[in-house]
C-alpha cells in the first residue's frame, strides 16, 4: 500500500459507480452540428446578415443565462450549451430583415422568462425559442410578418441595425401566405423543397433541415416518432383537403416544405424538455402538433401555425407521459 493512500478519505456515493461519458453538452453539441447545414444555406440565400443575427441571438442567450444564474446565485449552466441551441433556433425563426436588437429582446424572453424563471434547463414548460418567437411575432408584427420578408438571394447589409426594405427587395407575400388564399405561389415546389424562397432565416430549406434531422437520428439524439408523425399528419390532411383549385399533391408539398413545419418537426417539437418521453406519448404529441398546425392554417388568422401548435402541445406533455406510462415488468408491485 502506498503510504499516501493510507488514511486517505474515500469518496462515498450510492451505486452505480461508473457513468456514461455522454452528457447534456454532448447532446446539445450534436444538435448544434445538425443546425449548421441550415445556417450555411441561410448565409447563401440571405447573406451574412443571417449569420450576424444568429451570433447576436446566441451571444445574448448565453449572456442572459450567465447573468441570471450569477445574479440569482445559482450554479453556472452555460457550459451545457442548451442556451446556444436556443439562440440558434430563435434566430432561425426570424426574417433576415429584422432589426439587430430584436433577437436580444427575444433572447431575454426565451432565457429569463420562459426558461430560468421556471428553474433552468429541464424545468421549462414550453419551448423557449418558440415562445420567444411568438412573443416577438405579436409584439413587433411589422418586423416579423407581412412586408418584412425579403426576396431570396438578396443579400442585406450584415451590420446595419435597421434595414430599409425597398420595393425591389420586398418579397411580398411568402408562399405560405399566398396558398392560404387558395392560390398557387410563384415559387416552384422544388425551390420550396431546396429553400430558394422567402421566409425566416432557418426554416426555408427543408432539405438542409432534414439533413440535420437524419444526423440527429443517426446519433440517436432524437427518435423518429415526433418528426414522422407530425409531418405525416400535415401531409395527409393537406393532401385530402386542398384549398382552391390546387391539386392535393401540390397543396401537400407547399404545406410541408414552404413554411415552418420541417424545422418545427425536426428541431422544435423534438426538444427533450417539452416533449413526451414515451414512444406512445411522442406519437400522440406529433399527431396533435400536426392537427393543430393544419387547423390554424385553415381556419386561423395567421398563415403559419406550427409554433402555436407545438406550444399548445407542450402543455400536454405531463398528461401524455402519465397516460402512456409503460406496463411495468412483471406487473406492478403492491
Amino acid at each position: 500500500m502506498n503510504n499516501q493512500n493510507q488514511g486517505k478519505l474515500l469518496t462515498m456515493t450510492a451505486s452505480p459507480h461508473i457513468k456514461s461519458p455522454i452528457k447534456t453538452h454532448n447532446i446539445m453539441f450534436d444538435v448544434i452540428i445538425a443546425l449548421l447545414p441550415a445556417l450555411f444555406w441561410a448565409i447563401y440565400i440571405f447573406g451574412f446578415r443571417s449569420l450576424t443575427l444568429t451570433v447576436i441571438s446566441v451571444v445574448s442567450c448565453v449572456l442572459f443565462e450567465y447573468l441570471y444564474r450569477k445574479i440569482m446565485r445559482k450554479s453556472n449552466t452555460i457550459t451545457d450549451l442548451s442556451a446556444v441551441v436556443t439562440g440558434i433556433l430563435l434566430a432561425f425563426c426570424l426574417p433576415v430583415s429584422v432589426s439587430l436588437w430584436i433577437p436580444v429582446v427575444g433572447a431575454f424572453f426565451a432565457i429569463v422568462i420562459v426558461k430560468q424563471l421556471y428553474g433552468g434547463i429541464g424545468k421549462n414548460v414550453v419551448n423557449p425559442a418558440l415562445a420567444a418567437r411568438v412573443f416577438l411575432f405579436i409584439s413587433f408584427p411589422s418586423q416579423l410578418s407581412g412586408d418584412a420578408f425579403t426576396k431570396p438571394y438578396e443579400h442585406l447589409p450584415a451590420f446595419s441595425i435597421n434595414v430599409n426594405i425597398t420595393d425591389e427587395i420586398r418579397a411580398g407575400a411568402t408562399p405560405m401566405a399566398v396558398i392560404k388564399n387558395g392560390v398557387l405561389p410563384e415559387s416552384s415546389e422544388l425551390s420550396c423543397m431546396l429553400g430558394g424562397i422567402a421566409g425566416c432565416i432557418g426554416e426555408i430549406s427543408a432539405t438542409m433541415l432534414i439533413l440535420g434531422g437524419i444526423y440527429l437520428l443517426l446519433r440517436k439524439v432524437i427518435t423518429w416518432h415526433i418528426p414522422v408523425t407530425l409531418l405525416a399528419t400535415v401531409a395527409v390532411i393537406s393532401f385530402l383537403f386542398p384549398l382552391g383549385d390546387i391539386s392535393g399533391l401540390e397543396f401537400m408539398q407547399y404545406q410541408l416544405f414552404s413554411g415552418g413545419v420541417v424545422i418545427g418537426a425536426v428541431f422544435m417539437a423534438t426538444d427533450y424538455v417539452t416533449s413526451p418521453v414515451t414512444a406512445k406519448g411522442k406519437v400522440i404529441f406529433g399527431i396533435g402538433c400536426g392537427l393543430i398546425t393544419m387547423f390554424i392554417r385553415y381556419f386561423g388568422g395567421y398563415p403559419e401555425g406550427v409554433s402555436f401548435a407545438i406550444l399548445i402541445m407542450n402543455l400536454f406533455v405531463w398528461y401524455l407521459d402519465k397516460g402512456t406510462k409503460p406496463i411495468c415488468f412483471g406487473g406492478a408491485r403492491k
Binding site: 502506498n2 493512500n5 451505486s15 457513468k19 406510462k325 403492491k334
Partner: protein, 451 residues
C-alpha cells in the same frame, strides 16, 4: 438472434482480468469475520476472546429461522469480538477477529462425503449445504439451503447464472475456464436436490471461450444445455435472465420457483460442490481486483474476513489517483469508506477507482428519456427521481417505485448526472417502512379485536 431482454445497456465491459488465472491468496495475518454476510438473522458468535479455532470450524450460527452458519477461514486465536458498522454502513454487526497462526489446522469435522453424493437424498443435500454456510454468491447472498427448499417440487428448470453482466468482474468467467467440473458438479447436486428436470447454463456472448469449455464438459450430463445470451447489462438479474431464457416475466413479489425456475450463481455451484463432496464450508471466495487505480489487477481466491487493505497491497497497492473503493461490481456494488472493510462470502470484486471515473456533480434532468429506454423493469426513472426528490410518495407509487431493482442503468446513462437510484432508494425505503408499520399495526389491532 441471441436471446436477451428489453431495455438494459451496453456498457464498456472493462474485463481487464479475463486472462488472469485465479491465484491462491498469500495467507493474511489477521481476519475479521462478520456475523452477518447473508439475508436473514445474523449469526451468534460461538467462540470467545482467547479461544483457539481451527480452519473451517463453526464460529457463528443462528438456529431459529433463516440464517447462515459462519466458519473460521484461518486457524489461530480469537483476538477479539468487536461491533463494527456493517458493510452497507447500516447498523452494526459483530466481527470475530482471528490472528492467523499460519498452521492451516483443518477442523476434524471436515471430511469427504461417505458414499456417492449423487445418491444423497434432497434432505441430506439441504443439510450439508446449510451446515457449510453456503449462500448466494452472485450478490444477494440468500442462504442457498433455503433457496433449494423453496424450489423442491416447484422448479422444473435449474438455471446456472454465468452471465456476469457487471463490468470488470471476471471471477465467474475464470471459474468456468478453470473449474468447470466443480460448477457442473455442484449444479448436478442442486438439480438432484431441487428435482429440476432440465439444467440451463446461461453465459453472455462476451465469454465464448467459457461457452466452449462448458459445452465440452456438459456433454456428460443428461438434460442439460448451454444458452448463449447477448451481452447486455443487467442480463444477470434473475428476472431478466428468466425472461431471456424462458420468455416469462416473473410477477412482482414472486420467487423464480413460482414460475418453475430456480437460479444459482456459478460460484455458488462450486461452493455447493465442495460442501457436499468434501464437507468443506464456505470460507473463501474468488474475487476480481480491478479498477483504474489499482496497480496490478488480479483474480484471487481470498479467505473470508481478509481486509481490503491487505488485498490491495497484494495487488501492488493503489495509485495516487485513488478516489473510491467499491465492494462488488461498479453498477450495484457498495462504496467503502474504510480500508478495514473485509472480504465477505458474496464479495465478487474489489474495485479501486480513480477520480477520473468519478463525476458526482448533479445536473438537471433534461427529460431525454434515455433512462426509460434503459430500464429493464420498464419504469420511468426520470419521474421516479423527480417525485422522490420532492418526497411525493403518492406519485412515486403511481409510477411503480416499488418495482425498481436498483440496477443503476438509469443513473449510468443519465446525461444530466442525476443520481436517480439514490433518490429512488431513499423513498422506496421510506414507503416500505411505512407499509411494514401499517401491516404490524393492522395485525396488532386484529389481535386486540379477537381478544
Amino acid at each position: 438472434m441471441l436471446k436477451t431482454f428489453k431495455g438494459g445497456l451496453h456498457i464498456p465491459d472493462n474485463k481487464n482480468t479475463r486472462s488472469c488465472p485465479i491465484q491462491a491468496y498469500p495467507a493474511p495475518g489477521k481476519v475479521a469475520i462478520p456475523m452477518q454476510q447473508h439475508i436473514g438473522a445474523p449469526a451468534v458468535p460461538l467462540v470467545k476472546k482467547g479461544d483457539y479455532v481451527k480452519k473451517g470450524q463453526l464460529i457463528g450460527s443462528f438456529e431459529n429461522g433463516l440464517s447462515c452458519p459462519i466458519h473460521a477461514s484461518v486457524s489461530g486465536t480469537v483476538a477479539d469480538i468487536e461491533m463494527r458498522n456493517s458493510y452497507t454502513g447500516y447498523g452494526k454487526t459483530a466481527y470475530i477477529i482471528i490472528e492467523n497462526d499460519f498452521e492451516d489446522n483443518l477442523d476434524e469435522s471436515i471430511k469427504p462425503y461417505d458414499g456417492n453424493p449423487m445418491q444423497a437424498s434432497p434432505e441430506q443435500i439441504v443439510e450439508l449445504v446449510r451446515k457449510a454456510g453456503v449462500c448466494g454468491l452472485g450478490g444477494a447472498s440468500f442462504p442457498t439451503y433455503a433457496k433449494i427448499q423453496s424450489a423442491i417440487g416447484k422448479a422444473d428448470e435449474i438455471i446456472i447464472n454465468c452471465a456476469e453482466c457487471e463490468p470488470y468482474i471476471t471471477e465467474n468467467h475464470r471459474l468456468m475456464l478453470e473449474e468447470p467440473q466443480y460448477i457442473l458438479g455442484g449444479a448436478e447436486i442442486l438439480m438432484r436436490a431441487t428435482g429440476a428436470k432440465h439444467m440451463t447454463v446461461a453465459i453472455e456472448n462476451n465469454k465464448m471461450d467459457a461457452v466452449a469449455v462448458i459445452s465440452e464438459h456438459i456433454k456428460s450430463i443428461k438434460q442439460a444445455s448451454v444458452q448463449v445470451l447477448k451481452t447486455k447489462y443487467p442480463q444477470g438479474d434473475e428476472r431478466q435472465l428468466m425472461y431471456a431464457i424462458k420468455g416469462v416475466q416473473m410477477p412482482a413479489g414472486k420467487l423464480p420457483a413460482d414460475v418453475g425456475c430456480v437460479i444459482f450463481n456459478a460460484e455458488t455451484c462450486v461452493a455447493v460442490y465442495h460442501a457436499v463432496y468434501n464437507g468443506m464450508p464456505l470460507i473463501s471466495t474468488v474475487v476480481t481486483i480491478d479498477g483504474d487505480a489499482v496497480e496490478k489487477p488480479q483474480n484471487f481466491r481470498i479467505p473470508v474476513g481478509t481486509s481490503i487493505e491487505d488485498v490491495l497491497s497484494n495487488c501492488g497497492g493503489t495509485k495516487d489517483s485513488l478516489c473510491k473503493i467499491v465492494s462488488g461490481g461498479p453498477m450495484m456494488g457498495t462504496a467503502q469508506w474504510d480500508m478495514n472493510a473485509v472480504i465477505m462470502k458474496n464479495t465478487s470484486a474489489i474495485l479501486a477507482l480513480s477520480d477520473k471515473t468519478q463525476d458526482n456533480h448533479e445536473g438537471n434532468c433534461i427529460h431525454c428519456g434515455r433512462c426509460i429506454n434503459a430500464c429493464p423493469m420498464h419504469l420511468m426513472p426520470n419521474y421516479l427521481a423527480a417525485f422522490s426528490k420532492l418526497g411525493d410518495k403518492e406519485n412515486a407509487e403511481y409510477f411503480n417505485i416499488l418495482s425498481c431493482v436498483e440496477c443503476g442503468s438509469c443513473t449510468y446513462i443519465c446525461p444530466g448526472n442525476v443520481p436517480i437510484v439514490q433518490y429512488i432508494r431513499t423513498v422506496k425505503g421510506q414507503i416500505l417502512a411505512e407499509k411494514k408499520k401499517a401491516a404490524e399495526k393492522a395485525a396488532k389491532e386484529k389481535e386486540a379485536q379477537s381478544k
